[in-house]
């Protein structure tokens, strides 16, 4: 019997190996199409972009090695620094949107009447085309016929209309406001999901122990919401800083460079001035910035974003 079992062992091992190989092949068959798309549309363009940032190149001339010239030009480029600053401002505004969305999420997570309707209404802004959002808000902020100026004058808050999108002071906050409005629904859904995953027993136990509403929020809700907040922040940040269409349609980056962000500047360098090589250098810096922010946000939220529970 033992001999029979022993004779069968290599066969079983062989079968197991073939089974494992087949499963691995099957997994790769499913992965390869997505990986191919990722390679062709992400990795290769990224690699080419990095190479281009070290070359002199235009569509009508062959490439020449430029070394670090473009990166040196960046240091003296006032527009780059202005665009970088504006981009940082846009990123820094994401927490404002998240805070508002958290308040809304807490509201629609409570037992208020019609909360499903409110959830839908708040979410509606997110699926709208960004170009449509930009056009709507451009008209809302318009100096002559905009709703905001009209309402403010009606309420005697101002005596002269404010040229929001033509003002160096108000243009960027106006664009940020439009961006936050569009992202509110998305943030709310993420945070609502996080809220609903917090066990009720924790709140009940804390309430029994005499914790106030604020204490329960600060000590239980917020810490347990960290992964959701991180997710909302990263996705919201990426969406905001790559929101080319919102800025382009609302202000075109103006007045002056007041609302120029890195992505609009990159576009203008490439397609307005045909400086694809220099635009590539700006893109590399932009990429490093985004990676840095995502890493920092991951560390602040506990450092386990993207981790898979293999238990």
């Amino acid at each position: 019997m033992a001999a029979i079992l022993e004779a069968q062992a290599p066969m079983r091992a062989g079968t197991l190996l073939r089974e494992r190989t087949r499963r691995t092949l099957l997994v790769w068959c499913f992965l390869v199409p997505s990986l191919a798309i990722f390679l062709i549309y992400r990795i290769i363009p990224l690699a080419w972009n990095v190479i281009l940032s070290f070359e002199y190149w235009t569509p009508l001339r062959p490439a020449e090695f430029a070394g670090l010239d473009h990166y040196q030009d960046l240091l003296d480029d006032e527009v780059f620094w202005q665009a970088l600053w504006n981009t940082v401002m846009v990123i820094a505004s994401a927490p404002i949107g998240i805070a508002i969305a958290l308040a809304l999420a807490l509201l629609v997570n409570s037992d208020i009447r019609g909360r499903d309707v409110y959830r839908t209404i708040i979410f509606l802004s997110y699926p709208l085309m960004t170009v449509a959002v930009a056009i709507i808000w451009r008209w809302m902020f318009d100096e002559r016929v905009g709703l905001i100026n009209y309402t403010a004058r009606l309420l005697n808050l101002i005596d002269k209309p404010i040229p929001f999108l033509n003002s160096f002071t108000f243009a960027l906050p106006s664009v940020i406001a439009a961006n936050i409005w569009q992202m509110l629904g998305f943030y709310m859904i993420i945070l609502l999901t996080g809220l609903q995953n917090i066990p009720h027993e924790l709140h009940e136990a804390a309430a029994i122990d005499g914790a106030s509403l604020w204490q329960r929020f600060w000590r239980i809700t917020l810490p347990l919401l960290r992964p959701s907040v991180f997710l909302a922040f990263v996705i919201g940040m990426l969406n905001s800083v790559t929101s080319f269409d919102l800025v382009y349609v609302m202000t075109g980056g103006g007045p002056g460079r007041a609302t120029e962000i890195l992505v609009t500047y990159i576009y203008k360098l490439g397609f307005g001035q045909t400086k694809f090589d220099y635009a590539a250098a700006v893109t590399v810096v932009f990429f490093v910035l985004l990676i840095g922010i995502a890493w920092g946000a991951n560390r602040l939220s506990g450092g386990d974003a993207g981790a898979v529970d293999t238990q």
Binding site: P59, E143, P255, G256
Partner: protein, 417 residues
Amino acid sequence: MDRRTVLKAALAGAGSLAAPAYLRAQSAKKLSLLTWNIADQQALFAQEFAEFKAANPGVEIEWLDKKGPDLPAFYQTQIVAGTPPDIVDLQGAIWVQYAADGGLVDLTPYLKNEPEIAKRFNPDYLGGWAYQGKTYLLPFYVAKTLLFYNKTMFKEAGLEGPPQSFDDILGFAQKMAKGEKTGFLTLNFDWLYWPLFKMNGVELLSTDGKKAAFNTPQTVDLLGRLAKATDAGGINKIAWTGRWVEPNGAFASGTVGMLHAHSASYFFVKGQGPWINGETLGATQVPGFWSTPTNHGFAISKGSKNPDLAWSFIKHMTSDKSALTFFKSRSVLTANIAADTEGLAALEKSEPLAAAVLRTQIEHTDKLTGNWPLPYDAELKDALWPEIQNAVLGRKDARTALSDAERNVNRLLARKG
């Protein structure tokens, strides 16, 4: 029917379908045309293409139209892909870079062989398409800046007639500024504001083009005066911060006394402003008669497989007959002398106000400015304009702004050699 017969019939059928396609591919020549935001001319172009095809059997024409901001991006991606359109309608100074990089066909030999073609056009407008002694485009349609003025606001302010000097512009503007009303607006993209500088003796670059020449006491004084007028409300701030819709819309609302813009603005403001008619709107040259053109021209891409055919096509599209038809369809000047003369005569009877506006476009064409043939035009604008904005909006004093602008421009010029 047996199987062999069916098979023979199928092969014969396939062959008969394929043969014309094969023959078409051999005999058909295809021209592709890329135009800039004139998709509304479909009916007219269909007629033009039909006439060209009748004169050139076997030619197919593919027409693409792109909106203003999209065309350069599209054209450049087509160049990189190796499939640039044969003929491209270009506007502003972007063509100079393409010409400098060898992306456009030099039309000079064609014009030398057929001198009657050059004679069709206003020489000042045709000359605007030359770079380093070579002509790269034929004029398609043209516009240049002029001064529109609100006669009602002028009357209310006790002003007779349009301004005759720069001092008048500022003085009149201040007189008309009351409450929400302002006195003066200018468009500012593509150097359209430059006549204000030129009339005050400001030059952009030195004669050899190697250094900035605008940082002078006159320019400091000019910027100071513009800043003061803007701060006092005489000049509407949108002059320096708006692009197209905002300044034209503001003038159309009837609250701005003067608008310095190109003739294309007339049709926009007329559509938006119900107050506009021959009694209420005036159109004249700016003092000194300087103006900045914003012209469109046809160029042939270097990558074209049929440059001679493309040349025939652009000759056809800019012929007296085609130009006149285009003038009548779009009420726009074409730089074709015969077409513009006849077109204006007809327009005088049907729309005298439009005719008065367009007539300014063929006057003083020897005083065009802001149209330097520089391959780095976009970068130069970027180096200068933000500092001018800073000065006129009071964010920097004029002297500092001009020094910063001079530094930016000289750095750019040094890099370009």
